[in-house]
Homo-oligomer: 295 residues x 2
């Protein structure tokens, strides 16, 4: 099987698991449930739950306790997309070729659907307590999920990004945004996989470093592609950062240094990954494909 075929297979497996945790669309609160499912079913790479599952497997995990957490992290990611798209924040009408949630369901319902998904993530993760009562790793996984999502994680990065619009950024602040807005949920995904498979504290810390590097390299590559790719290849407008006067890694470091940094950071990530006990070739390929992607 080629990597592409494997990726497709894993995507289907992941979606099957995530979809199982979506709410039925019944009762008086039908509209918000529809709005939540509309955005959850809008496609996407399902990267976070996939990374979680593959890290779980890397450490020999083979149970089902990982499944509610896979659904939970995708719900958290989707929550952040719904709220990011709102008129008061990015004001985007389309995402992945479909109308955004507030365009279809109105602004009030989009706010509440985002809230609903953020909360459903924790409800869903809590179902793990019933699956394996007394498994102490569940509390740890829940703690990672909450702290990497919050004001010292993804949400913190989002707020700084929102405030930075139209302002020149120093390198340190840009790093902070990248590390939190993109990195934190990847760290959360991979760390939860490791913790639920029973990895040692030392290995969980290594996994966190891998995920952090992957997030950073991914984000720099994003900035490079916005400048060097064509909208035909990318499937979205290019030079958008330039047009928006946005400070990016490339505007600070220049294109050559940025490319070199992606290489250095990726190498470091793969090396750290290889230090871990266990082996998961698909995970290695998945990470490499994210960093070296051309679109």
């Amino acid at each position: 099987m080629t990597f592409k075929e494997m990726l497709q297979q894993h995507l289907e497996e992941t979606e099957e698991i995530v979809y199982r945790y979506l709410p039925g669309e019944e009762g008086y609160q039908k509209t918000v449930l529809e709005a939540m499912n509309y955005s959850m079913k809008a496609g996407g790479k399902r990267l976070r739950p996939m990374l979680m599952m593959e890290t779980y497997r890397l450490f020999g995990g083979n149970g089902r306790i990982i499944e509610p957490f896979m659904a939970a992290i995708e719900m958290i990611h989707t929550h952040s997309l719904i709220h990011d798209d709102l008129p008061a924040i990015d004001n985007d009408e389309y995402r992945r070729g479909r109308k955004t949630t507030h365009i279809v369901y109105g602004e009030a319902m989009a706010i509440l659907a985002g809230d609903g998904l953020l909360n459903l993530a924790y409800e869903t993760a809590c179902s793990a307590f019933l699956m394996e009562p007394g498994n102490m790793a569940i509390g740890q996984a829940m703690t990672i999920l909450a702290s990497k999502t919050g004001v010292n994680g993804m949400l913190g990065g989002q707020t700084v990004d929102v405030e930075a619009v139209g302002q020149p950024l120093e390198k340190e602040k840009l790093d902070f945004i990248y590390r939190l807005k993109t990195g934190a949920l990847l760290e959360s995904a991979m760390m939860i996989g490791a913790v639920l498979a029973g990895a040692s504290v030392r290995d969980v810390n290594r996994v966190e470093r891998v995920a952090s590097d992957v997030g950073l390299a991914f984000q720099i590559q994003d900035d490079i592609l916005d400048l060097t790719s064509s909208s035909q290849v990318l499937g979205k407008p290019v030079h958008s950062d330039e047009k928006n006067n946005k400070t990016t890694y490339v505007t600070i470091e220049g294109i050559e240094k940025s490319k070199k940094d992606v290489e250095t950071i990726s190498k470091r990530a793969i090396e750290t990954l290889k230090e871990l006990p266990g082996k998961n070739e698909f995970l290695e390929e998945l990470i490499l494909s994210l960093i070296t992607r051309e679109k």
Copy 2:
């Protein structure tokens, strides 16, 4: 000590506990942290954490494991106020005599501050896992917290309420909104208190019924006061339901039946409360004061 003095003492105790879990206002994400604290420190009755603590005490609880959950439920309540006040939802500029969060910090930051508080609630509750590793009641308490907040709890009620604006409501739907929007968090508060103190499943179910009745009676009393009180006594405009063409319990059942129902429901709540093992006179008085209040 009079009940009023005791209430003041308990309020101070509750605020001291809740405030201890509020974030410092440092780092790049300073603004969102300020916005979160601005609304958390806006006063209020701190009813939910107080009911939680008193139910915990009723069942003989005397540890500190209850404290993160007290802070968590107040954060969830405050999150819902911030988002309810947003222009797309209730569009309120003042709450408790202070400007609302989006008026002070802007709409984008208010959305993210609300998200931040909802998430911080779970981060805060997770800190209980470190306090008493292996205490299985923590997972149960977390599950109650999440499910009573979500689409089958408070948030579900909020969405139905938002959709119902300007429409006539049948009794069943109004009951649904009251039960979820007001009742669910009160149930959550009291049930978590009971669970963390080690109450039996049967008693936790009884506590849920008490809280549900308290929520319903509280809400009906609210409708009655809007019609019968003066804005001087109430400290907020009266006849607002009438002006907004809002279907309330009183418009459906009439004023006399409504008053009688408050009495019946209150009586039932207090009777169920008295069936529970343990005694907490302050809790009884607190509940009575909520239901029979004149403002």
